[in-house]
Point group: C2
Chain length 348, copies 2
Amino acid sequence: MSLIVDDRAAQVLRCIVEDYVATAEPVGSRTVSKRMEQALSPATIRNIMADLEEVGFLVQPHTSAGRVPTAAGFRFYIDNLLLRRSLMLGEEEQLKLAAGKAGAGGESPDDLVRHVSRLLSQLSGQTSVVIVSNPNQQRLRCISLMRASTDKILVVAIMQSGHVQHRLIDGEPDITSDDLEKINSYLNSFTERLTLTQLRMKVRSELRREKAKYDRVMQRALAASARVFDESVHGEVFVEGRANILEQPEFVEDVQRLKRILRAFEEKTVIYRLLDRAMAGEAIQVSIGCENNVEELGDVSVVASGYRHGDSSMGSIGLIGPVRMDYPRMIPLVEYTANLLTVLFEQR
Amino acid sequence: MSLIVDDRAAQVLRCIVEDYVATAEPVGSRTVSKRMEQALSPATIRNIMADLEEVGFLVQPHTSAGRVPTAAGFRFYIDNLLLRRSLMLGEEEQLKLAAGKAGAGGESPDDLVRHVSRLLSQLSGQTSVVIVSNPNQQRLRCISLMRASTDKILVVAIMQSGHVQHRLIDGEPDITSDDLEKINSYLNSFTERLTLTQLRMKVRSELRREKAKYDRVMQRALAASARVFDESVHGEVFVEGRANILEQPEFVEDVQRLKRILRAFEEKTVIYRLLDRAMAGEAIQVSIGCENNVEELGDVSVVASGYRHGDSSMGSIGLIGPVRMDYPRMIPLVEYTANLLTVLFEQR
DNA sequence: ATTTAGCACTCTTAAGGCGTGAGTGCTAAA
DNA sequence: TTTAGCACTCACGCCTTAAGAGTGCTAAAT
């Protein structure tokens, strides 16, 4: 009765996990025996199951029910037993096709991401979620101030990734178009490849250091541009395929849980916390149940992966579903999709 | 047994509607009699109820259950019996406060709308929905082309309402900044107060009429700018407070219906169809059940009202909820909110 | 020492039967 | 015209029962 699970027990666990994923019902010894082609009798399976229960990989909802894998059981399955299934015939094509359509047109990056995300939710049958990293941390391509009306200036920042960020600022009616022109060329002389945050700091320090160098109007304009993209800007969050959670019996049965999840979907910060771990890392992230450390979503699993533009990470895309998820299918799907996004941004 | 409902019957109907709205349960004659302070005995009420059933304002789910108002019953109630309840203490303040916070900052119009919509969903306990009219139909303030990178041009259009619309277009690497400058001042010489659609047509006809007048580069640039804001641009749709539909017992009980509604929320075109009628008209629109002519949402009610910027309509905001909705509260709430949006846009 | 057949036992689930109560419609009296 | 009275209907909750799935344990088989 060692804590290390031997190979035979592992096969039984796999079998239980896979059956449970397919049926959402507790799995009995008889079923496992059949699925293993009668290599072992139900009685033997029962012994092994008892062992697996002892190490915490299985539980019984009640006496005389079959077993259900625990979060720990799923974790072991994913880490040690999972055989990846490659993408289904057509899935890859569908994604590529949609990508082609999206990548070609003048679609904005956000629309592109939403598009791909929706497709992912359709292919997976789960809810798809994307976060786009805070634009303040993306690298700039160029920046420009322009007159919007007599008392308003529009600041436009174009990122390396093709994202366009803009903001209308009030006042400053006495700054002329010529001033703006000057400011533009001044800003762009050192803007390239900085992040917005860096740019803001840079402008601030320039202003402080060489006060004399700039006339008053120019100073005010620069100061205004510096506070334009402040902390109030957040990365975008997209959720697609919410209705899919109603396909999962475990969610439908428990309205309270359903409410909690739907509410979580509406809180951008929650989704952001859920996915930003995946944004940093290279590999795909799988978190089972409360592993994600987000109380509101303690009973869902998340499969997510970051996507990049060049060397800087742009965001992450993933799936939210029940713990009982078809990981062998979902993991490659998310992986492929995140990769696709990276490739698509490469082309921009 | 006339088809015209006399005053007493109307009072009974009101009573039934209001009780049903509060409890979501069929209402019996005994209850109505009590609520009317025993003015009439249950037996009399039963007779009246039978009449109301005959004209189609009530139904019985089964013999020996109380009565439930039909869509027609609700319609009659709204058209003839509804006493508006004014906003609750604090609701108005909350909305104004949030509005002040939102209106002041450099928040984008879309964020403002989303903000107000979310608040509406919280105050109403229903799902709130907003559509923003297609920007192509909004009037321009000014337009500007700028170099984004060696092979990309950014076109930015600022609308009278403060909406900023932008698009990155490919190619045209040999158009210089000077060319762009020229194009900008040319475009802006007649841009003001045109819609994007009108501008596009104008540019096209100019190009055709006076070919000689423009050099080749300029022509190409103008042609590019003309196809920038094409038909692919759609108005935005925001849905807030989806989780609120789970507060309604009638939706929780029927998962199929729930799925249908949730799916509908994800289809922008569906929401658009649902609300665009309200966008045109002046008054608030109430559509009960299938009155909205959107199959996917045949069993919900919608209370919606347009909001404007100056004389042109900008979109509409509303609530989606069960037919059994608290109209006397929801109608003023939506009305006030739509008005608030109009006022906020006025200030921009 | 492991595996397995057999068996008693547990517990869920579905089905049937029954009483209760809410609510009705009808009739006859006020 | 209204209302009291009454018989009737039907959903709902509760109980009992039977079936079935699945277990754990023991003893025999390998």
